[in-house]
Amino acid sequence: MSDLLDALAIALKSGLGFQAIFFALLAIGINVHFGYTGLLNFGQIAFAMLGGFGIAISVSKWGMPFWVGVVVGIVAAVVLALLLGLPTLRLRADYLAIVTIATAEGLRLLFRSVSATPVTNGTRGLSAFNQSFIALAPWDTQRRYAILGTSWSGGELWVATVGWVLVALASLLVFQLMRSPWGRVLKAIREDEDAVRALGKNVYSYKMQALVLGAVFGALGGMVYAVGTGSAIPDQYQNANTFLAYAALILGGAARVLGPVVGSIILLFILQFADTGLRSLISNGIIPDTLLSSTDVAQIRFVLVGIGLMLLLVFRPQGIFGDRREVMLDAR
C-alpha cells in the first residue's frame, strides 16, 4: 500500500514537474502547427534543442548573461523555422513530416558529432548554465519543500513555478490568437487550403507564421527542460520526444487550448506511475526477472506511448476534450 502511495506521489510530482512543462510547451507548439493549421511537424524537438542549447552555449561557452541565452535560443528556433518552412510548406502533409523528422534527427546528430564538440561538447553536452536563473528564486533553493506528499528542492520548485507561468501565458496567447481573425484563417487553412486561397489570403505566409509561433513555444519548452535538468545533452533531444508530445496533444485533444496542457500532465502521470509501479513490482518479485528486468522499464514508457498513440488515433482521435470534426485526419 505504501508502495502504491509512493508511486502515486512520484507520478504526481512528475505530472507537475519540469518534464510535464517541457512536453506541455512542445505540445502547445504542435497544437498551433498540427491542431490549428494542419501542418504535420515531426521535428518539434529540434526547436526545443535549439532553445536549450541556445542558453547552454551562450552561458557556458560564450559567457553571456542568462537572458541573452534565452533570446539566442528563441532567435535560433525562429531562424530554423524559416529555413525549414521556406522549401517545405508548399508540400503535402506527409512530405512535410518526412522533412521535419529528418531535420530534427540530423540536427541532433550534428550537435553530438565530433566536429561540433568545440561548441556543444559533443555527446557529453554542456552544464552549469542555470545558476543565475535558480538564484532568482524568492525562496531558499538549498532546502527541500514538501507539497502534497511530494518532496521538491527549492530549485525544482522555482523552475516548475516559472514553467507553469510560461505555460499559462502561452495558452492565453493561443486562446486569444485563435479567436482572432488570424486564428480563424489558420483553422480555415486546416479545413480547406484552396478555399482560403480563393478568398485572397496568402496561405503560405500564414503557414509560415504558424510554424514560427509553434517553434518559439518549442524553444521555450527546451529551455525549461535544459534549466530543469541543469544540462544540455544532444541525446536528450531524441525524436521520440516529439511523438511523446504528439501523444500528449492527442490525448488531451488537438485544436483545444488546454488540450496539450492537460494531456501532458496526464501522460507524464501515467508514464511515471507505470514506471515506478513496474519497478516496485519487479523488485518485489511479483513480475519475474526473466520476463522483465528493471533496466527494461525505461523502454516500457515508449511501448506504452506507442500503444496509446495507436489506440487514440483509431478509436478516439479527438482525445479527451477535442472535437472530432476539428482534428485533421486526412492528408492534403
Binding site: 504535420l40 515531426f42 530554423l80 529555413l83 522549401p87 517545405t88 508540400l91 503535402r92 502533409a93 506527409d94 512530405y95 513530416a97 518526412i98 522533412v99 523528422i101 529528418a102 531535420t103 534527427e105 540530423g106 540536427l107 546528430l109 550534428l110 553530438r112 558529432s113 565530433v114 566536429s115 561540433a116 555527446t123 527542460y225 545533452i233 541525446d235 536528450q236 521520440a240 520526444n241 511523438f243 504528439y246 501523444a247 492527442i250 522483465l292 533496466t295 527494461d296 525505461a298 523502454q299 516500457i300 514508457r301 515508449f302 511501448v303 506511448v305 506507442g306 500503444i307 496509446g308 498513440l309 495507436m310 488515433l313 483509431v314 482521435p317 485533421m328 485526419l329 486526412d330 492528408a331
Partner: protein, 457 residues
C-alpha cells in the same frame, strides 16, 4: 528523461570499426579535410543545419570500471593479432599491458581509475605492409569515471597514397553502391506500400530490424548457417508484413481512417515495435556468427571483403528479380496497376486487397533481407532499421514516392552520395548529404525522378 539511460548501454557496446571503415582511413580523412571542415560545417548549419553522425567510437565491451580499449586493423591486413599494447600513467609508471586478440582487439583495465594515461603499441610487431600513422606509436588519453576509453592508432596499410584521390573516390563509390543497394532492397516495399495504399509507413524500419534480429537469433543462438537463417528471416518478415496488413491496416482502411491518422498510427507502431525489440534483444550490437573476420580482397583500384561483394551480388540479383516480377508477371502488373490508379485497377477486376497483401509480404521479406545484409556490414542493433528509415525515405522520395523503380534508382543514388560525401565532409556527419539532398529534391522536383506530377497533390 530516460534517453540518456536508454542510450547508455550502447556506448560501451558498439564494437568494431564504424560502418566497416578501418580506423586508418578514418583518421586520414580527418587530416585531409581539417582545413575545409569548419567551412563545410558552417555551410551545413546554414543550409538547414542538419546531418547525421553514424557511430560512436569503437569500444570492446561494456564494463564497470575504467578501461582503455581499441582495435588494431587496417582494410588490407584485417584485424592484427599479437601486438603488445602498454598503458602507462602520465608520470611514466606502467599500469598494465596486453596483446591484441585474433580480432585485433585489446582492453586494459585501469585499477587506478580515471585520469591521464599514455597508450603505446609495439610498432615492430606489426605485420608487413602495415605502418604506424603520422602520430607514431603512442597516444595520450584522458579517461573519465566509469568510461571505456577507445583509442585509435590510425594504422596505415599503404592504400592511402597508391593512386591518390581517384582510388579513394572509386573505393567510396563501390562502398556507396553496396550501401545504396541495401537501402534499395529495404525501400522497395516502402515505396510499393505507399503506392498501393497511400500509407507513409514509419514502421518500415522495424521490418528491417526484425529481419536482422530474427536472423541473428536463428544464426547465433540456433546455430543455423546464416544463409538458411536469412531465408527463415525473410519468411518471418513476410509473415510480419502480412500481419501488419491483416491485423492493422486493412481494418483501418475499412474504417475509413485518414492518411494523417494512419501516418501517426504507424509512428505509434514504430515506437511500440522498436522499444519491444530493445527489451527483447537488448541495447547491444552483435555480429552474425559467420563471415566476420574476412580480409578485404584487392580488385585493383578498390578493395572489398567477400561478404560485401556477396551483399552487392545478392542485392542486385534480388532487385533484378523484383523488377522482372513487376514487369512480367500477372501479380507484378497488378501491383503497378494498383499503384498507378487504385480505383481503375479495382474496376478492371483486380482484387486490390489481395495485391496489397502480397505487396506487404514482399516488402516484409525484402526488408528482412536488407536487414541481414546491413547487419552483416554494420552488426545487428535494435534501432538499425529506424536509423536507416530516413535514408530510405530520402531514396524513395528522390526516385519518386510510390514508384517501384524510383525506389531502386533513388536509393542507390542516396547510398553513393552519402559515401562519396565523405570526400569533403567528416565521416560522422556524412548522412547530411543524403538528408540535404532529400530537401533539395523536394524543393526542385517533389515528385522525384520517376514520379508523376499528380502525386504531390
Amino acid at each position: 528523461m530516460t534517453h540518456a539511460l536508454t542510450r547508455a548501454p550502447e556506448h560501451g557496446a558498439r564494437t568494431g570499426p564504424p560502418r566497416g571503415r578501418p580506423p586508418g582511413r578514418f583518421r586520414r580523412l580527418f587530416a585531409r579535410t581539417a582545413g575545409r571542415r569548419s567551412l563545410v560545417l558552417a555551410m551545413l548549419v546554414a543550409a538547414f543545419a542538419m546531418s547525421v553522425a553514424t557511430l560512436l567510437p569503437s569500444g570492446v565491451a561494456s564494463a564497470e570500471g575504467e578501461r582503455i580499449v581499441g582495435t588494431l586493423q587496417t582494410s588490407v591486413s584485417g584485424p592484427i593479432p599479437d601486438v603488445e599494447v602498454t598503458v602507462t600513467t602520465a608520470s611514466g609508471d606502467e599500469v598494465d599491458s596486453a596483446t591484441t586478440d585474433e580480432n585485433g582487439r585489446f582492453a586494459i583495465d585501469l585499477p587506478d581509475g580515471a585520469g591521464d594515461y599514455t597508450v603505446s603499441i609495439d610498432g615492430d610487431a606489426l605485420p608487413d605492409g602495415v605502418t604506424l600513422g603520422p602520430q607514431g606509436d603512442t597516444r595520450d588519453v584522458t579517461v573519465d569515471n566509469g568510461r571505456s576509453q577507445p583509442v585509435n592508432f590510425g594504422l596505415q596499410d599503404g592504400t592511402a597514397n597508391s593512386g591518390g584521390g581517384n582510388v579513394r573516390a572509386i573505393q567510396l563509390l563501390v562502398d556507396g553502391l553496396r550501401f545504396g543497394l541495401i537501402i534499395a532492397v529495404c525501400a522497395v516495399g516502402l515505396s510499393l506500400i505507399f503506392g498501393t495504399t497511400g500509407l507513409t509507413n514509419f514502421a518500415h524500419g522495424e521490418l528491417v530490424t526484425i529481419g536482422a534480429i530474427v536472423a541473428w537469433y536463428v544464426n547465433v543462438q540456433g546455430g543455423v548457417p546464416l544463409i538458411a537463417a536469412t531465408l527463415i528471416a525473410m519468411v518471418v518478415g513476410a509473415g510480419v508484413g502480412a500481419l501488419h496488413e491483416l491485423a492493422l491496416w486493412r481494418p483501418l482502411r475499412k474504417r475509413g481512417t485518414g492518411l494523417v491518422a494512419a501516418l501517426v498510427v504507424s509512428i505509434g507502431l514504430s515506437l511500440l515495435l522498436r522499444y519491444l525489440l530493445q527489451i527483447i534483444y537488448g541495447g547491444f550490437s552483435n555480429p552474425y556468427a559467420e563471415y566476420q573476420s574476412q580480409r578485404a580482397q584487392s580488385y585493383g583500384v578498390f578493395t572489398l571483403t567477400n561478404r560485401a561483394l556477396a551483399s552487392i551480388v545478392i542485392a542486385l540479383v534480388v532487385l533484378v528479380l523484383v523488377a522482372l516480377m513487376l514487369q512480367k508477371t500477372k501479380i507484378g502488373k497488378a501491383m503497378r496497376a494498383v499503384s498507378d490508379n487504385r480505383d481503375l485497377a479495382a474496376s478492371s477486376g483486380i482484387d486490390v486487397n489481395r495485391v496489397i497483401l502480397i505487396v506487404w509480404m514482399m516488402g516484409g521479406a525484402l526488408a528482412a533481407l536488407g536487414g541481414v545484409l546491413l547487419g552483416l556490414s554494420d552488426q545487428v542493433q535494435w534501432d538499425m532499421g529506424f536509423r536507416l528509415l530516413l535514408l530510405m525515405f530520402a531514396g524513395v522520395t528522390l526516385g519518386g514516392l510510390g514508384t517501384a523503380y524510383g525506389a531502386l534508382v533513388g536509393s542507390v543514388i542516396i547510398g553513393v552520395f552519402v559515401q562519396m560525401s565523405t570526400l569533403v565532409i567528416p565521416d560522422d556527419v556524412k548522412y547530411v548529404g543524403g538528408l540535404l539532398l532529400l530537401i533539395v529534391i523536394l524543393v526542385i522536383r517533389p515528385q522525384g525522378i520517376l514520379g508523376s506530377r499528380a502525386r504531390i497533390g
